[in-house]
Amino acid sequence: MNYTFIALVENKPGVLNRVASLFRRRNFNIESLAVGRTEDPEVSRMTVVVDCPNGDMDAHKIEANLYKLVNVIDVQDVTRQPSVTRDLALIKIKVGPEKRAEVNGLAEIFRAHIVDVAVDSVIVEITGTEDKIEGMIELLRPLGIVEMVRTGQVAMTRGVNDGVRRVPGVAGNHRFEDMSELAEMAP
């Protein structure tokens, strides 16, 4: 199952490499990773979607290992937390003038935009959950997708609630002071 983590990291050179290297070394599969600035210029924010075949036990491992990186400030698992998740895709479709209306119609349904029109192609920009984007891609495919790029998912929890923080004792921001409930799920 895919888990979504939000990690706040120090905005320093090489931190992305450290995080990526850690996932490789501990043999976790990253489905997507998006990094960007935050309201604080010293802090970057990563949204990492990772396949966790062992469920919460893997999630615990990922959090605990991320904290081993000196530059990682905070990690939360928002998988089960009501949150807004967004991915952005640019999709170039090979269509001449005769089919543009069809693309336009689809775009409207998905609240996507046509952001470039050339003689025999258009670029559609769509923002939304991964599911929504997958849905649109399926419908566009028969028309002839020639190029596509996606940003990877970003996430933010709704309201004032954060996600789960499983790792005890780190930086005073832990909610779950013991991990005994995880014992059942061990390998």
Binding site: S21, A171, D178, M179
Partner: protein, 561 residues
């Protein structure tokens, strides 16, 4: 006041209390070496950077302080890599400083440019690439703090040549600013209470004493806990010395070459108290049948170790010393008489097979030699080992009563560690007797450091256990590959001549009756000595839990006819 980056490095290093640094110069760190002359640090010129890394490691293990090693860019840095990985696997605090090509050349494949921070990323606790002089003070301060705090480990600082020579205002940073790095100390109260409940119910508890006991200096509180609850204490390879081997509650070493009664106790226990250890595969055997009846309490400072290999019932994440200090007043007194008797019976049964009870047949067996050295030194030497059979025998028979005297590469199992680690340890306390026990194979990996010992007058006694084999690999081939010996027969130089060529007095011992005199001779000389023992070639380390077998499925020494 304005200073060069190299001067700032030494200003900070001296403030960290560094007195000795092990290193090797080259183009990319010459300004560092130049500036060093003005500071009160003793530099040990090693013969290979790997040796320097192990010396800093041995120094750190023996002193409890942060070790420091240096190398130049490119090959100098890559030569350090084995030593860095060794320190990482065993959580040893060492700061490595490497020179790097000038910042504007980085990425251009300049002469002796290697991506050292890239290479060492997975084998350091943290690392830095410094491109400007004004970064150095903060980085050095952080590096030492990170190396020694929490779960210790190696930190590498790669300093570009321009940053070494450029000048900037030197302001010593009074504090470190690391928002994401705050090691914990206390474990939460409710978790402690649940631990106490498990301890109350336990009939057959065992303490697993790991390296963390030494790191957090928890020997005394461990003793209080063990005595108050009358819980037997088994030790990991790296935990040896944290609990006195001669204590009636001591079970000695656990694991692959652990003692029979120790592994039996673990497998039959109903409560495991894992203190500062990480359930490495070498101590658990197969996880499927590991301590099947035991509840588990795990006191550990690194949350990523919790549930990593073995799921535990109560994790207490915090500094071991602090957690145990909190825990001791909360637990009651117990006696566990029956359990201790049961363990004693296992021990008496196993002792019948012990090589120590063999009649003397005139041959040299490593276990006997280790005991001889133990007797001669009153069990009080700092003892470092290389890796292989002799390492396990030393762990089994050099019974340690005091902490921080046992230097052995556990997690990495790095051959070549023994001699340089012993030299490093000598710098930690020059009055202390230091022995290095090495195999004929591993000794040759870093033998060049003998000259370093001579140049420094390091009073290190080397005992080479020469079985003319890569013995541990030979043993595995004997047990698990139908004795098909492949690449384990090793020709060695004349070790006595080799040592003498280095200016080290040396003797070869081939007979039992020469042993005591030879040890006494070595001890009587001030300065390095080498003893080569021609030992039984095809002896095997017993007991042995084959890789992947259950912990109580031990191959025991065949009974003597």
């Amino acid at each position: 006041m304005k200073k060069t980056g190299a001067e700032i490095l030494w200003e900070c290093v001296v403030r960290e209390g560094v007195e000795v640094v092990f290193g090797y110069p080259g183009g990319a760190n010459m300004p560092i070496y130049d500036a060093m002359l003005s500071y009160p640090v003793h530099h040990v010129l090693v013969r290979h950077e790997q040796g320097g890394a192990h010396m800093a490691d041995g120094y750190a293990r023996a002193s409890g302080k942060v070790g420091m090693a240096m190398g130049t860019s490119g090959p100098g840095a890559t030569n350090l890599v084995t030593g860095i990985a060794t320190a990482m696997m065993d959580s040893v605090p060492v700061v490595f400083v490497t020179g790097q090509v000038a910042a504007h050349l980085i990425g251009g494949d300049a002469f002796q440019e290697v991506d050292v921070t890239g290479i060492t990323l997975p084998i350091t606790k943290h690392n830095y690439l410094v491109t400007r002089a004004d970064e150095i003070a903060e980085v050095v301060r952080e590096a030492f703090y990170i190396a020694r705090s929490g779960r210790p480990g190696p930190v590498l600082i790669d300093i570009c040549k321009n940053a070494q020579v450029e000048q900037c205002e030197f302001v010593y940073p009074e504090t470190v600013k690391l928002p994401g790095y705050q090691p914990v100390d206390h474990a939460p109260k409710d978790a402690l209470e649940r631990a106490v409940k498990l301890i109350e119910k336990a009939q057959r508890p065992v303490i697993l004493c790991g390296h963390g006991v030494l790191v957090s200096k928890a020997e005394e509180v461990l003793m209080n806990f063990a005595v108050k609850t009358q819980t037997p204490v088994a030790s990991t390879l790296l935990g040896l010395g944290a609990f006195p081997a001669s204590h009636e509650l001591s079970l000695g070493m656990m694991g692959m070459h652990g003692e029979v009664h120790t592994n039996m106790a673990i497998q039959n226990s109903d409560l495991i108290l894992a203190f500062g250890m990480r359930f490495d595969d070498r101590v658990t055997g197969t996880l499927k049948t590991y301590a099947p009846h035991a509840k588990k309490i795990h006191v550990e400072i690194d949350p990523s170790e919790v549930h990593k290999n073995v799921a535990v019932d109560v994790p207490l994440v915090g500094d071991l010393n602090t957690v145990l200090t909190d825990l001791v007043p909360m637990v009651d007194e117990y006696d566990h008489e029956e359990w201790k008797k049961q363990i004693h019976n296992w021990k008496s049964e196993a002792d019948k097979r012990s090589i120590m009870n063999w009649p003397d047949d005139g041959k040299l067996y490593v276990p006997h030699l280790i005991e001889d050295i133990w007797k001669a030194t009153g069990g009080g030497a700092i003892i470092s080992t290389d890796v292989g059979q002799h390492q396990m025998w030393t762990a089994q028979y050099y019974a340690l009563d005091k902490p921080n005297r046992w230097l052995s590469s556990g997690g990495a199992g790095t051959m070549g560690f023994g001699l340089p680690a012993a030299i490093g340890a000598w710098f930690a306390d020059k009055e202390q007797e230091v022995w290095a026990v090495a195999g004929d194979g591993g000794f040759q990996m870093t033998a060049a450091e003998l000259t370093t010992a001579v140049q420094e007058g390091a009073n290190v006694k080397v005992a080479i256990m020469n079985n003319s084999f890569l013995g541990m690999v030979r043993q595995w081939q004997e047990f698990f590959f139908e004795k098909r010996y492949s690449a384990v027969n090793m020709l060695s130089p004349d070790f006595v001549k080799l040592a003498e060529a280095h200016g080290v007095p040396a003797r070869r011992v081939t007979k039992r009756e020469e042993v005591d005199e030879a040890i006494a001779w070595a001890r009587s000389i001030k300065g390095p000595t080498v003893l080569e023992f021609r030992v039984e070639q095809e002896d095997a380390v017993y007991p042995m839990v084959p890789a992947g077998a259950a912990l109580d499925q031990m191959i025991q020494r065949p009974a003597r006819a």
